[in-house]
Symmetry: D5
Subunit: 126 residues, 10 copies
């Protein structure tokens, strides 16, 4: 089950703002209605908070283990997206963050969900 | 024939605004003039209304069945696009919505129609 | 329902062997189990029989109407493929023919079915 | 020769603004200097005028015939683009329109010409 | 765990030989060494045995459930491929069959494994 | 109208066999039934006859003008293909030749026609 | 050597503003340090000045000859880009212009240079 | 180890602002935790400072050698990106600069890091 | 330096012949003449020897470490390819094997080298 | 002018047969009729002769300089291809060789020429 405790972070290495994008192409969870697996791509883009404000960056291996913890979870697309957004925002206190999940879909319809945290600049909203 | 009653929705799961995109790649209806089938892709992108304002999200399987209900309907490109926009706006009361239909075309000309509801942010208009 | 009577042909225009490939990218039928629509591409490749042996070529518009006649038919992938092969072989008496159907699939699995008539040269079998 | 009389239109089917894009991938005319044929793609994108203001939408088959009427015309890229813009603006009185022609080119140089009518929103200008 | 009992089949619908290709793009199992998930595409191509010889075709939904049964299994690439080949050959008695697994890989190396059953024609071996 | 007299050739420049492929991506003719233009790609591949046997190679500019001479001709796909094959075989006496026409299609069906002259090696037949 | 005298122009054919893009995919010059050839794509995009202000458009064939005149010139990427921008601005007096050169590169690094003239609208700057 | 001394520059060749983009597709460094190599693409985009303000442009061959100096360095993605940004900003005093590193990734997650210097125009920030 | 001792193997898991393809997309070595790094993709395809004949399969992680051992080696394309072929053939005693290296190239020329061991079936030779 | 003396070679490094493919993507020569430059890709694929028979491999840098020596030469496509084949066969005495030139073309027609030396295996002929 999704496990916040798996996430680790390190202090943002620079006061100068920069942008990080992590693209996890092998995400899978389970549809809570049918029990069939869902497959998707999770994209996390954020400007880390400055170290002087306690901002941190998620550690990559811990992010991988955290995303793997959804593997047996029965959970909707929207809930996956909001959960990741909430957990990573809590972990890192980013200046802003966008979590986008892009699902392979079912029955001829595929979906893309975007959830945000903070004041996302216009060019990063899409 | 297109059937609004097939659509179901669930309350928006979060007060925080987010954006949902459903891409139905297997849409087909019938040309009202020639009787030949038309094939296209229907893209529905919207920011659900907040639950506190009664906003809802369309349920995926009901969306599939609703789109299938156009299968034997003789209807123009523009009417398909406006009808889907009207039905989904009535169902969900979204903050904003874009319905884009992308048709395979006939006679060397293919068409893309975009209809909107509410105040669509600039970056989502195209 | 699939209707052989819609098919028309014209005499092969040359005694010299040649190869024709028709690719119908907008095929749709209905799954006999679930009632949901199936979408696919139908590829018909053949060497027409020589006119001296009564060989003919399927007329393009009649092929379109024939393929449209599957639109409301509940029928399996294999049966679609074999039915088209049987009807076109009966119509044209080709030297050889390959009918390949390439389906968009369901539940993460897509399928390709190949049925043949006559002695297909090796390079055309795949 | 390009023939405005071939164009037909129908009243815009909705007061709510929407955007239509027609992409004609099989356009050909003749170079007035060399007499060799030119090949290109014509893209017409517009927001139809509202029906209350007499706005109309070009009918697709008439658009096809109109574009075919350039087939034997000796005419420059710029003139093709401006002519289509002028004729369609006169026909439809759109809120705004962009005509883009994308040519296969000659001698290692290919060209793209864009002509507009009305006040085109920024995101549609390119 | 991989479960042969999930597989169902139906009699080959035609005496005339034909070829079926099922492409499962959402396969996942677990690396037995690291415990990390593996992701891949499973391609099953076969010529069904003739019905007169008891040949059958695997039923699509049962194939999906069977492949899902590897989801929590710690198993090597080669073993996945051979296991699927063995189970499907036992189920269907095909004239010939190729099982190809195409893995996303780890550490900059991705792998493709091919296992066969029966006398596979040359053009289908790759 | 298609004009053989436009074709010019030069003696094959080498006794050693070699293979030439000309790909004309801007071919257009007219459908004899509907009067609408057809668009396609013409591929001519051949091994020129040796100069000692009077073999020649088609001159490129003359090939362009010859293909342009179909521009106003009402002619079927098969006839275009066979006509080009016949004219070029008569002009060049090639060791072997394949003429492939690949059409953009109509009504959702596109076609590819292959006509040959002489004893085409297997790998060049497709 | 680059030769301004090769450039010819014609009066802008319309008072209504429009945008022209010429893409020369076969540009080559010589590296002044190593003497090795450089290969690139030159993109010239501009809004011609209005005819009432003496604005002109570069003639295509003269543009081709002008770009060919760099073939034996030893010249840096930046100088090529600025030289073309200067020569074309002098020739045409455009409302605005962007010259972009996109080089195949050397030693694993490829470069793109953009030079402008006049007040380029934001959407055309990249 | 990363060596600033390898970098060389030349005075910006024009007072008129322009934009340079260098794309190094063959970058490699070493992961400081696992010791395994990392592979990525480094994109450096900048508007050189004007020569009147002492602005310079990095010399291409020296940039190649500088980037090669990371080959044996154990260093994190973020540190690579910030280090390159700092060294090039110090060297050139650009009007603005964006350094983007795009990594092939590990364990199914790939990353993109963007660091900037100066006041980057909106369209160049992504 | 390339180190055979890094390679490990395990007994072929099945007597039935099958084919394994490992694709290492992140290979780098050093040019022995210029000292500049070379980058390429290494593809190893083989049919493992049967276990009854002592055949083995290379272990994936050891293959990764072995390929990394070329990182600082000054070595030509041909030598890399032959060395990998020799080391893996010695390790595994495969029924047959193809090692293909595909290099990014230098100075506008890229190269592909193929070395083999044993009697490679025709369809695997290219 | 094309200069054989620029070519250098080294002894084939192995008695075991292998295949080398060099792809020069930046070839240019001049059309002897119009004087306009031609651009193409030159692919040289060969099995070097064994060292015991005096077989050699062309040295890469010398191949680059040799191909650059066509830069100002007025020469037909066929002559370029045959000349390269003749010069490299003379230099290397390969077991077999294929020289393929793939030209960007003129007037809507592009060409591919293949010339060979020795007994080329079937799979390498195309």
């Amino acid at each position: 089950m999704p496990d916040y405790a798996l996430l680790e972070s390190f202090p943002t290495p620079s006061e100068t703002p920069f942008v990080i994008e992590h693209i996890a192409e092998e995400f899978t969870s389970v549809c809570p209605v049918t029990g069939h697996p869902d497959f998707g791509v999770v994209n996390v883009t954020f400007q880390p908070g400055p170290p002087s404000a306690g901002g941190t960056c998620v550690e990559l291996k811990s992010l991988k283990l955290y995303l793997q913890s959804f593997r047996s979870e029965g959970i909707y697309y929207e809930a996956v997206t909001n959960r990741i957004r909430d957990d990573l925002a809590r972990l890192m206190s980013p200046a802003w963050m966008v979590v986008r999940t892009d699902w392979r879909g079912r029955g001829g319809i595929r979906s893309v969900i975007r959830a945000t945290s903070g004041d996302v600049p216009t060019i990063w909203q899409k």
